[in-house]
């Protein structure tokens, strides 16, 4: 198995775990915290709210404006 295949497989496992846990918490809510409820909780704190905004802004700027060369 090549190194790149292992790398992609690790990303795939992480992504699948996110989806599986996301579906589980949605089905089991309100017993378990969903990603939405965590973000809602963060948005209630003034500082965390801006951290969420900065993270979302960074992802958009990095992906669409700067591309992969942002750190080069």
């Amino acid at each position: 198995m090549s190194t790149s295949a292992v790398s992609y497989a690790i990303y795939a496992v992480i992504a699948a775990s996110w989806v599986a846990w996301g579906v589980f918490t949605q089905v089991e809510r309100p017993r378990y915290a969903t990603l939405g409820s965590i973000v809602r909780g963060m948005m209630r704190h003034p500082l965390m709210r801006w951290a969420v905004w900065a993270s979302w802004a960074f992802v958009g700027w990095h992906l669409f404006v700067r591309g992969r060369g942002a750190f080069k």
Binding site: Y11, A33, W50, W56, R68
Partner: protein, 133 residues
């Protein structure tokens, strides 16, 4: 006579227009080239709009949110940590072909206009979901 007490949710024209406008905006913005001023403006507008939305007053008094469950938060933190750690390992490793980062994976998705449009629309939708007041 039995009267129905549960109505199916109706989609308003306002919602349809907003979604259509957002999709048109995403299609136009995703057609612009990276590292250009027009693309910076197209991405900057939603970022500034979200920032302004955060400055506006939130929920009205009496609409306080119910306390949320904390069960499973540790799992979410673990999943985020797993992603960030692997992203950092990949970023620090080379060659990029063997150690793709999240950015290099999305770059291949965004090599076509429909792929770039899909990610831009997803980014806008996530932002709307987070910052709507």
């Amino acid at each position: 006579m039995v009267e129905a007490t549960h109505r199916a949710p109706r989609v308003s024209w306002r919602a349809v227009i907003v979604v259509a406008a957002a999709l048109v905006y995403a299609w136009i913005a995703s057609g612009l080239r990276p590292f250009t001023h027009p693309e910076a403006v197209a991405v900057g507008i939603p970022i500034i709009a979200a920032g302004v939305a955060m400055l506006l007053p939130g929920r009205r008094p009496g609409q306080a949110a119910a306390p949320e469950s904390r069960r499973g938060v540790l799992v979410w933190r673990g999943l985020l940590a797993a992603f960030l750690i692997w992203e950092l390992i990949s970023y620090r490793s080379s060659p990029r072909e063997d150690f793709p980062t999240f950015s290099s994976i999305t770059d291949s998705i965004m090599s076509t206009h429909p792929g770039r449009f899909a990610l831009f629309a997803l980014w806008l939708a996530i932002g709307y979901g987070i910052f709507r007041r």
